[in-house]
Structures are given as structure tokens and as C-alpha cells.
């Protein structure tokens, strides 16, 4: 780092980082992994609020039986857009943001491997979601056939199909470029003495996630391109009258879709695997088995896709295969959960906000995992398929799983990003508020589903009224809790207790060796790092 001796101490504080001046140069043209990470996180948060607002409309309509507030078609637009925005706009970019911020800091790299591409992959996203969101204001409205885009239904909704397809293309290009960057960074940019088995688990889970992204996002791009040509260029990939088969789309979609759900959860596993050892003040139990379990989950994710399609019709042998293969995923997942529990066993645990969110993650994600194993049972799935049971299942794994993982990561690393400690009392309020309300929101949906309430329908039979009212009340409370989260984050960024470099006394890892806030440029000198500072250092 070149220190300018003429700088006096006062101006030194901020300028010594050589941040580019002016909004355009600093943010629009940035190639800095920390700035791009921040952009990703802000974007993801904005999308989380937008998708959340749509969820509020859904819960408002479902507050009581009958049609009160919105038209059925608009309701279906809301369920479709809520899912697309949360999956592609909130959860995935949030993890890419965490990856940008933390991976270079964790492996001693000066920046991401391909910084200009990094800028590009972020700045595509606002355009993708502008395209997608613009359909809300069009004649015929937004896509309303569900985020799974099954033909022929999705092709019957007017010209929003074209916008949907191009938005998915852009999101895909963005994720693929982000994934390539992560792979190149991890493979080539590690400090010279950091081996693969020295890497923190967050880096490992992201490496595996990045491989999944490169393998399946192009398949989705292909599938939506076929939708586009079926709609506008007279092909018959999925058109039965023209000799095609709509079920083919479901196979291609879920070949993407199942790895996709692991893309959204593996980085959360990584975050939690960083946080639990810190607050248990013990090394992660079974580090190597965690790496292998992650790889095993990733591999299995490619060979189980048709468990999403049991009700479509399949030979008995196929049902049995997909059923057992799916249940097998519970084995490596169980390895991870037992490792987290073993890490905490006899640890000197404290319960700061990141740890609370991680503990809730372990417990509530496991509930989502259990309902997943229930859904894997082909004969039972025929009853649960497309009911609120599946809605409860995937919200347990995605909200109390992926989203709680992201929130835990934000609380854990925000002192490093901003240089300020968040307010612990407010953090705890946010935690309890979120955790209680999210269970009021989603737990009753299990019962609704078992009793037969179908998903994606704006009205329901009066027998479902009470659970739906609870669920809606929980939904509004959970939504408000996230608005409160904005306030907590805002307050932390603006000021608060100064954070030390170490931040958490039990934390290990290279990110805690740089000052808080992390300077604009870190690890600029190419050279070995102190492996003692890493959690998985010398014993491997």
C-alpha cells in the first residue's frame, strides 16, 4: 500500500483507501469486491422488500375466505412474481453479495479474480428486474402461471412471456458470470499458503454452489428459450398438437430447479458453519465431513428432479427410484446438522444475534427438511402435491433456512463492513419478533395442506378460515419485523459502538485480521498469511 506522507491524520481516515470519488465512479464503474458486494446486498434487500410486499398482498387476500381485495388473476400474478423476485432477486443476489464481500477476505485475495466482469454481473440485474417488474403495468398484467412457468398455461398470458424469458436470460447470465468469478477467485487467488482444506466452510459451500450454477442456469435458459420459440416462432417443443409434450418442460425445468434449491441453501450452510464455532468457541466439528457432505448434496441434487413430478405420472420403477434417491439426501444433510450440534456440545456458548439466527436456522431448517422427506414419499406426495403443505415446506427451508442464514451473516459481518457494532438489544428484538412471527406464519400452513387447501388459489373453503387468519397475522408481523431490520441496519451503518478488528472474541478467519471497517483494499501484498488465524489451519 502506498502511503502518502503529506496526508495529515484527519484526512487520512477515509482517503487513505483511495476510494474513487463521485457516485458514478465509485458505484457504477466500480470493480472493487467490497463495493460490488455492498451493491448486491442493497439490491437484494430492495427486492426482498418488493417481493415481501407482494407476499403481504397474498396474505391480505387470504386473511378471510371469499374475494375481498384483489382479482383472482392479480392474485396469481402476485404469487408468481413473489416467487421469481424472492428466488432470483433476493436470495441469490444476497448470497453473491456475501460471496463478494467475504470470499476475498477469507482466503487472503486482493479482490475477485475478474473484477470488470464482476461489475457487469451486478449491473445486469437492475435491468433484468426492470424488465420483469414492467410486466405489472402492461395490458394483461404480469406472468401469472406460477414461477415454474409450466406450459401451456404460461404461454396463455399475453406478451409478458417475452419479458419473463428475457429477464430470466439476464438473471442467468448474471449468475453464471458471478459463479465463474467465484470459482476463479477461489482456485487462483488464494494466498500462496492457503490450501483447499484451509478454506473456511463458507468458501467451500460457495465453490460448490458456483459449480451448480454453471451447470444448471444454462439449462433454464434453454428451457425458457423453448417457451419463447413455442410462443412466437411456431415451434412445438411443448405443444401436444404439434407433436411436442408439455411434460418435457417439467423435466427440463426441474433438472434446473432441484439443483437451484441447493444453490439457495448451500451458502447458508456455509454462513452458519462460520457463526456456530465462533459463538460456541470451539472449532467446527467434522470440517472435512462437512466439505464432503456439501459435495454429496450437490451431486445428489442432479439425480432427483422428478420427485417434483410424482403426480404427473411415471412408471412405478421411476417413482421408487426418485423416492429413494431423494430420501438419500437426508443422509449428508443429517451429517451437517449433527456436526453443528456437536460443535456446540460443551462449548462456551453465548447468544448474540448472529448465533440466535443460526440456532433458529438449525432447528427450523430441520423442520423444513423433515417435511421434505415426507414429500419425498411418492404415495404420500400425491396427497400433499400443490397444497399448502408444500408451501409450508419450502418456506421453512427458504425463509427460516436461506433468509435466516443471510440475516445471521449480515449481523455477523456488519461490524466488519461498517466499522460499527449493531445494537444488540435491537438485534435480539428483531430475532424474537421474526422467529415467533415466521412460525405463526408458516406452521399452520402444514395443517392447511394436510387438510387439502390448494396453493395458488385466492379463495378457500370456510373450514380453513382460522389457520389462514393466524397465518396472515404472522405474515404481517414478519413483514413488519423486516422493516424494523432496515432500521437496525441503517442505525448500524450510520453510527454506533466502534468495532474492533477481531469483533467476536471466538472468531477465527482472515477476515478478522483486517481493521473494521475493512479498508477499500486488503491483502494487496502477494505473500503467505498467518495460518494460525484461520479456523482450519495447521491440523490439515
Amino acid at each position: 500500500m502506498s502511503h502518502d506522507i503529506t496526508h495529515d491524520e484527519a484526512s487520512h481516515g477515509h482517503d487513505h483507501d483511495h476510494k474513487p470519488k463521485g457516485f458514478v465512479k465509485r458505484w457504477l464503474m466500480t470493480t472493487n469486491h467490497k463495493d460490488i458486494g455492498t451493491l448486491y446486498l442493497i439490491f437484494a434487500f430492495a427486492m426482498f422488500i418488493l417481493g415481501g410486499a407482494m407476499a403481504m398482498i397474498i396474505r391480505l387476500e387470504l386473511f378471510q375466505p371469499g374475494l375481498q381485495f384483489v382479482e383472482p388473476d392479480f392474485f396469481n400474478q402476485m404469487t408468481t412474481m413473489h416467487a421469481l423476485i424472492m428466488v432470483f432477486g433476493a436470495v441469490m443476489p444476497a448470497f453473491v453479495g456475501l460471496a463478494n464481500w467475504m470470499i476475498p477476505l477469507m482466503i487472503g485475495a486482493p479482490d475477485m479474480a475478474l473484477p470488470r466482469m464482476n461489475n457487469w454481473s451486478f449491473w445486469i440485474l437492475p435491468f433484468a428486474f426492470t424488465l420483469l417488474a414492467s410486466t405489472l403495468f402492461m395490458e394483461g398484467g404480469a406472468p401469472a402461471g406460477g414461477w415454474t412457468m409450466y406450459p401451456p398455461l404460461v404461454l396463455q398470458g399475453g406478451h409478458n412471456v417475452a419479458y419473463l424469458v428475457f429477464a430470466v436470460h439476464l438473471m442467468g447470465i448474471s449468475s453464471i458470470m458471478g459463479a465463474i468469478n467465484v470459482i476463479a477467485t477461489i482456485m487462483n487467488m488464494r494466498a500462496p499458503n492457503v490450501g483447499y482444506l484451509n478454506m473456511p466452510l463458507f468458501v467451500w459451500t460457495w465453490l460448490i454452489t458456483a459449480f451448480l450454477l454453471i451447470a444448471v442456469m444454462p439449462v433454464l435458459a434453454g428451457a425458457v428459450t423453448m417457451l419463447l420459440t413455442d410462443r412466437y416462432f411456431d415451434t412445438s417443443f411443448f405443444n401436444a398438437a404439434g407433436g411436442g409434450d408439455p411434460v418435457l418442460f417439467q423435466h427440463i425445468f426441474w433438472f434446473f430447479g432441484h439443483p437451484e434449491v441447493y444453490i439457495m441453501i448451500l451458502p447458508a450452510f456455509g454462513v452458519v458453519s462460520e457463526i456456530i464455532p465462533t459463538f460456541a468457541r470451539k472449532p467446527l466439528f467434522g470440517y472435512v465431513s462437512m466439505v464432503y457432505a456439501t459435495a454429496a448434496i450437490a451431486f445428489l441434487s442432479f439425480i432427483v428432479w422428478a420427485h417434483h413430478m410424482f403426480s404427473v405420472g411415471m412408471p412405478l420403477g421411476g417413482e421408487l427410484y426418485f423416492m429413494y434417491a431423494t430420501m438419500m439426501i437426508a443422509v449428508p444433510t443429517g451429517v451437517k446438522i449433527f456436526n453443528w450440534v456437536a460443535t456446540m456440545w460443551r462449548g462456551s456458548m453465548t447468544f448474540e444475534t448472529p448465533m440466535l439466527f443460526s440456532l433458529a436456522f438449525v432447528i427450523l431448517f430441520t423442520i423444513g427438511g423433515f417435511s421434505g422427506v415426507m414429500m419425498a414419499l411418492a404415495p404420500v406426495d400425491l396427497q400433499y402435491h400443490d397444497t399448502y403443505f408444500i408451501v409450508a415446506h419450502f418456506h421453512y427451508v427458504l425463509v427460516t433456512g436461506a433468509v435466516f442464514g443471510i440475516i445471521a451473516g449480515v449481523y455477523y459481518w456488519i461490524p466488519k463492513w461498517s466499522g460499527h457494532m449493531y445494537n444488540e438489544r435491537l438485534g435480539k428484538i428483531h430475532f424474537w419478533w421474526s422467529t415467533i412471527s415466521v412460525n405463526v406464519l408458516f406452521f399452520p400452513q402444514h395443517f392447511l395442506g394436510l387438510a387439502g387447501m390448494p396453493r395458488r388459489i385466492p379463495d378457500y373453503s370456510t373450514q380453513f378460515a382460522e389457520f389462514n387468519m393466524w397465518s396472515s397475522i404472522g405474515g404481517f408481523a414478519f413483514g413488519l419485523a423486516q422493516v424494523f431490520f432496515i432500521y437496525v441496519v441503517w442505525k448500524t451503518v450510520r453510527g454506533g459502538e466502534k468495532a474492533t478488528a477481531q469483533v467476536w472474541d471466538g472468531a477465527k478467519g482472515l477476515e478478522w485480521t483486517v481493521p473494521s471497517p475493512a479498508p477499500h483494499h486488503t491483502f494487496e501484498e502477494f505473500g503467505p498469511v498467518d495460518l494460525d488465524k484461520m479456523a482450519h489451519g495447521k491440523d490439515h
Binding site: P192, T235, G242, P315
Partner: protein, 194 residues
């Protein structure tokens, strides 16, 4: 340090190139799933498309064992026809030729051409079900108000697994007038095979 950085740049480019090639190949894989799916369906009968057998292929009859064949007919919402089987089910001896008829009527003011697409359930039975003659082999023109008997001649192979006792033959009629010439050509090519 200079040397290390240039090495990193070279390695990064390599990772970038390999990854891009993989991504492009995976787009190709997505499209390759289309013919692959057709092949798998031909072998397994996964999507209910029926098997191919000529009348001369009829060898043995499995006397003393009958299966029930049910008939079902629907029209796509774009087609202003009524369409139903003449009889709803039939007891058949595997290995023997049978004929039945569907009745279609154009209830609109215009002449409409339709194309029927067959499917057999359960899927694993479909490769043992062959039609030697079927109105679905060609497109059908009905003038306004015209009613037509549409014959189908079929055979259930004596190789049919014994645990399958009921088969359903289902037709969906689509409106050909609503399809473009390119779709029609593609459809004709495929329907000749089924």
C-alpha cells in the same frame, strides 16, 4: 509479485474460458434433452405415446385372459367440436385385432380441420398398445354441422405385463386452423410416427 500477478491473470482467463465452454455446453445439453426425451419415451412409453405394430405382426393370442380397454375423448378449448367414443369400454383378448369408433361433430358455423393426439394410460402399457388404423394418423376436416364416425383399429400385445388389467386410450382433438403452417408440418411429421 509481478510474476505472481501475471500468473493469476493467466489462470483466471483459463478458468473463465473453461467455465464459459461448460456453460455453452449446458445450454446444448438442455436442448439435447428434447430428442433424448423422445427416445426415452419410445423405449419406456413414459409419455403415453403408443407403440408401433402392423396387422401382420399379430402372432399369438392370449386366450382365456382379457383386459379392459377404456375409451376417452376430449377436445381442446380452441376446437368447436363435440367428440366422444361410441362405446366407453371393451373387454379384449391380447393379441387380437379390435375396432371401435369415435363420433365427432362440428358444432360451429365454419369448416374446421382437427388433429387428434392419442395417449395411453398407464404409461407403461402404452408400448404394448398399437393402432393399425386410426383417424389420428391424418388430419380430419369437418364442415359446419357435419358429424362423422371415426374408426380406430387396435391391438393389445400379448406381451402386456399381467398386472395391467385396465388400459385407457385417450384422444385430444386440436384445432389445426389455429396452427401455423410450420407447426402443422412439424406436427404431421411427428404424428406419422405415432
Amino acid at each position: 509479485m509481478q510474476k505472481d500477478n501475471s500468473n493469476r491473470t493467466k489462470d483466471n482467463k483459463k478458468v473463465l474460458n473453461i467455465s464459459l465452454v461448460v456453460a455453452v455446453l449446458m445450454v446444448g445439453f438442455g436442448f439435447a434433452l428434447v430428442p433424448l426425451y423422445d427416445i426415452i419415451c419410445d423405449i419406456t412409453g413414459l409419455n403415453g405415446k403408443t407403440g408401433v405394430m402392423a396387422a401382420s405382426d399379430v402372432k399369438e393370442q392370449d386366450v382365456g385372459h382379457t383386459v379392459t380397454v377404456q375409451f376417452d375423448g376430449t377436445v381442446n378449448s380452441n376446437l368447436p367440436w363435440s367428440f366422444r367414443p361410441k362405446q366407453f369400454s371393451m373387454e379384449v383378448i391380447p393379441g387380437k385385432l379390435y375396432s371401435t369408433e369415435y363420433i365427432a361433430k362440428n358444432i360451429s358455423e365454419e369448416d374446421v380441420t382437427g388433429q387428434a393426439v392419442p395417449s395411453v394410460a398407464p404409461n407403461e402399457a402404452s408400448i404394448y398398445f398399437s393402432k393399425t388404423e386410426c383417424f389420428c394418423f391424418t388430419e380430419q376436416l369437418l364442415t359446419s354441422g357435419e358429424e362423422k364416425q371415426m374408426p380406430v383399429t387396435f391391438i393389445v400385445s400379448s406381451d402386456l405385463p399381467k398386472d395391467i388389467e385396465v388400459l385407457t386410450l385417450s384422444y385430444t382433438f386440436f384445432n389445426k386452423n389455429r396452427m401455423t403452417t410450420a407447426q402443422q408440418a412439424e406436427g404431421n411429421a411427428k404424428h406419422e410416427k405415432i
